[in-house]
Amino acid sequence: MISVSKLLCETAAAGDGLRYGDPSDVPQITDEKQRRPVVVWNVTRGCNLACQHCYASAEAERADGELSTAEGKQLLRDLAEYGVPVVLFSGGEPLVRDDLTELVAYARDQGIRPVLSTNGTLLTPDRARALRDAGLAYAGVSVDGLATANDAFRGREGAFDAAVRGIEACLDVGLKTGLRYTVTERTVDDMEGVVDLLHDVGVDRFCFYHLDYGGRGGDIADADLDSERRREVVRRLCDLTREYHADGSPIETLLVGNYADGGFVVEYARDELGDAAAERIYAALRRNGGDPAGDRVADVDYHGNVHPTQFWQGYALGNVRDRPFGAIWADESNPLLSRLRDRESELSGKCVDCCYREICGGGSPLRSLTVHGDPLAPDPQCYLTESERRGEPPVAVPERMAEPGD
């Protein structure tokens, strides 16, 4: 996850401490918990929509044998004991579980920051208020276009209007709420329109996802953007973010799922803001690291399987019903897990001499596996030009040495 607004406009948000380790006036999550992964928990398979790109291949009905309330609480205790800083409740659609509020409150009580990924259509004022009272820190609502495109993409007429009502319900009770938007050829044309519309509603956080090839996402790879189009889109998001800031109504803009974005944003900064800005941004991205699969992000599905990322549901490292999460995640006797955490020595092809390999890590292992049959092959979605890859990175600011009393 790359914060365009933080990098280009130097505005801070609560998650930036996890990403860049920067001090700021905004309360940050900067303690040792940074070293533990953010955990996505797909609490159910059930969903009231049928999205074309659903990585979890969600269905209308919940699955048999989903983790129970008691098992979920034990899982949350295990995650807290391991030092997990954030749990993202996801699905399916997590709001189809009647015990969601109870689980959110339990996560909060364990010292974990609970956040939510939802399609928003079931967010009534009562449920939004209950989630706020339970300690939910953030609700990310998925919208993939204006009404016509969104409803076609997400498989139900009226889904757009229902999602906007859900967003309004959250904002009305003071619950921090943002947009999640997957950019494909089927959704890209509405991107700016959705930002403008939701900004008018009161949303100020916008997360844009590149398509990953997990679940039904792999079935629509033909709708993925080509490199030229992707460059246009990311450039437009950089411009748009700066325009909102210049107009005095700053928005938080994040790019998710393709760490070539880091190199692109550095190049953008060099062109638009100068070498010093590019250097600062490169240093921040270097602190953040590249693609987080198997390291800074983990996923637990509704049956307890632990995946290297939420998108990679076809492979599990283990199952929390057998072994605590921390034991699975720390077990680097699994050679795939250790390879994912030591990417730089494993990179191949055009990644080997790419000047941005330290801030990218080779990109999405799932896309590489899907297209090349090798999770550590170059990401097929990399859109940096050869001259960008073969250039000189800005000189990274050396890490500050720890001093006594730090």
Binding site: D64, S68, K73, Q74, Y302, N305, G314, A316, L317, G373
Partner: protein, 103 residues
Amino acid sequence: MADCPRDATEREWELFRRASVDEPLTHVGSVTAPSAPVAYEQAAMLFPAAVDLWLCPADETHRYASAALGARAGEDGGSADEPETEGDAHDEEAAPAPSEADA
């Protein structure tokens, strides 16, 4: 012990890998695939250096785990809709007990 399915969209296969002929088989997770040959193809891409890859249907595996989640949570597995007995997950750290976590 109640059934606790591991499969999502397709069958789940427990995966065992041997790195060299003089080493033991080691469990290295599971893959999702409709058949054993497809599961093998996927496993071979993930663990290309293995000399042996064994695949076992997850739903044919009987697990006797000392740290099973359900036992530690104070319940005997079961579904997400089962009512939670008072205090079972809030107040008690059930001692690890041998249990078959899956069938």
